[in-house]
Amino acid sequence: MNAAAKNREPKQNIFNSKRVRARVLQNIWRNRYIYLMVIPVIIYFVLLKYMPMWFLRSAFYDYKLLKGFDSKFVGLKWFERLFTNPNLMTYIGNTLKLNFAALVLLFPAPLVFALALKELRSKRFMKTVQTISYLPHFVSTVVLVSMISTICSPDYGTLAKIAKMLGTKPISFMTIPEYFVPVSVVSGFWQSVGWESVIFYSTLMGIDQVLYEAAKIDGANRWQQILHVSLPGVANTFVLLLIMHVGQMLNVNFEKVYLMQNNLNLSASEMLPTFTYKTGMESHNYGYATAAGLFNSVVSVALVYIANAISRKVGETSLF
């Protein structure tokens, strides 16, 4: 942590103890401007985020759009259908496999990339790399998947051409279940590494230059500067993003997985969101689809809570 953050704690305590003694009204009056900020935000969230959430109770109905909540109440029927599915654990397993690979390989990549960018001596080269690296973010998933299947095609793809040049047999990446996760991760890397490094890069640039100067005076070399100044400087952001990322463990880039699926790789590529989409939305069963989504949300919150608790114990950063 930087010096400023260290100074923070004692100050806060003094402030706190004062506040505890003050009367409630006095506190509110003193914070009148803070409340002026909080209230519109709360109104916004109630109107645009919480009101739509009231719809979530459709998970307990055989929900018909035209009838609305006059539809038949079915209790836990959809949850039963979800939990009695014989393949549920396979789907969750597939989801976790993909997300775990993404967590280990993809999540730290943008940070490394941002550090590397910052270390580049030629600023012109740095700016070129950065600008180009964020462009793949604009490629839509549909186009991305069609690019993947073209590049991976064993008949005419770029990879097949390389394989043939090397005298080996082209691999059919898209139809072998074992390749689903690698292909998914590599393409994810291509698409997101630059874009997601932006937040780390800007945080790195936000680190007080004085700290680097001080480190240099202490005789730190570049590697030590990275280790002792840069990394601690982005740790906060990194941990926060990590906690939020852990909360997404049951979610996947739905559209991409869905488009990359085919009958021969389905044993590795079917996941909970794609399965519930197919069973719920294709037959317009909103109750079932909502129930599956609700299950997903609850698990996400549980995961975030755990990650947050661990982070609070181990470090000082926490989401809430």
Partner: protein, 310 residues
């Protein structure tokens, strides 16, 4: 500006003197790695650009790699002929710009109490916001809400729907927290109110993170397709992505415009779909390419943080 340049020079000179052999090797490895990385990222993009400008047969045969084969700008012709293109372009710019400014103001106002406030209900306020990160009603109730609020078929629907997101609030809050608390406190003692502190002190110090979030919001609006599709009904109001998507569908469906005659205008129909899809991406990317360098400038301004304290 002057101070910055002199500082840069000094740093360069200092480094020049101190650079060791190990340092040079490290630089070389870094440069080579980043160059390979650049190639890895660039190739599919280059391929995309080349396809958008290639002859339809070459596209069909999957022959196109680094450069266009048999130059054919037909896809661009198709895009720029669209009467709705420029209007939708304007609409997108309006939504992205207004959405960005309003979101930034909103995010700062929402994040300030979380970072600097000590008020009753802070924990509730924090959880109240975070909760929306995992629970949402889905597209249908969102649509109904927008309609109830009388925003249907206006650009405000697009702007307000994503005005404040829990994720962005967390990001801005965490940056605010890295700002020394003394700054806020001394301002309080000087009699400044929280709004004044936020706008005069905190926001100028938070340029890097605000630039990042601004970029996210702009690009989010720029790439958004499903929300305009749901919330807009008049062609007048359509955004760029909607028109572009329509052009792609149009090019792809021309595959059914079968005919015995005419080799050129119909035989490339399948490929024209591919060319158009890629050309559309290029057209959508160019404005963002123009915007990014301006944002990039703000990333560096955070370096000045130290001077404020002293």
């Amino acid at each position: 500006m002057m101070a910055q340049t002199t500082m840069k020079k000094r740093r360069k000179n200092g480094d020049f003197i101190r650079r060791s052999t190990g340092d040079k090797i490290a630089d070389a490895i870094l440069n080579v790695t980043m160059f390979l990385m650049l190639c890895f990222i660039l190739y599919p993009l280059l391929n995309m650009f080349s396809i958008s400008l290639s002859n339809e047969y070459a596209v069909l045969r999957a022959d196109v790699t680094f450069y266009p084969i048999g130059f054919n700008p037909q896809a661009y012709d198709l895009i720029f002929k669209s009467q709705d293109l420029w209007r939708s372009f304007g609409n997108s710019i309006f939504v992205a710009a207004a959405g960005c400014v309003l979101s930034l103001i909103g995010l700062c106002i929402a994040a300030y109490p979380l970072a600097f406030g000590h008020f009753y209900g802070k924990r509730f306020y924090s959880l109240f916001i975070l909760f929306t990160m995992w629970f949402n009603g889905g597209i249908i109730p969102q649509f109904l809400t927008i309609r109830e609020l009388g925003l249907y078929n206006t650009h405000w629907a697009l702007i307000l729907n994503v005005l404040l997101s829990a994720y962005n609030i967390v990001i801005v809050r965490s940056y605010f927290q890295s700002i020394p608390l003394e700054i806020v406190e001394s301002a309080h003692i000087d009699g400044a109110n929280d709004f004044l502190i936020l706008f005069k002190l905190i926001i100028p110090l938070s340029k890097p993170v605000l630039a990042t979030v601004a970029m996210w919001i702009i690009v989010g609006h720029w790439n958004d397709y499903l929300n305009p599709l749901m919330f807009l009904s008049d062609r007048e109001n359509y955004t760029l992505q909607m028109i572009l998507k329509e052009l792609v569908l149009n090019a792809e469906s021309s595959i059914h415009n079968i005919s015995m005659t005419g080799t050129k205008q119909t035989s490339g129909a399948v490929a024209l779909g591919q060319q158009t899809r890629n050309a559309v991406l290029v057209v959508a990317m160019v404005p963002m390419l123009i915007v990014f360098p301006f944002v990039q400038r703000y990333f560096v301004s955070g370096v000045m943080l130290g001077s404020v304290k002293g």
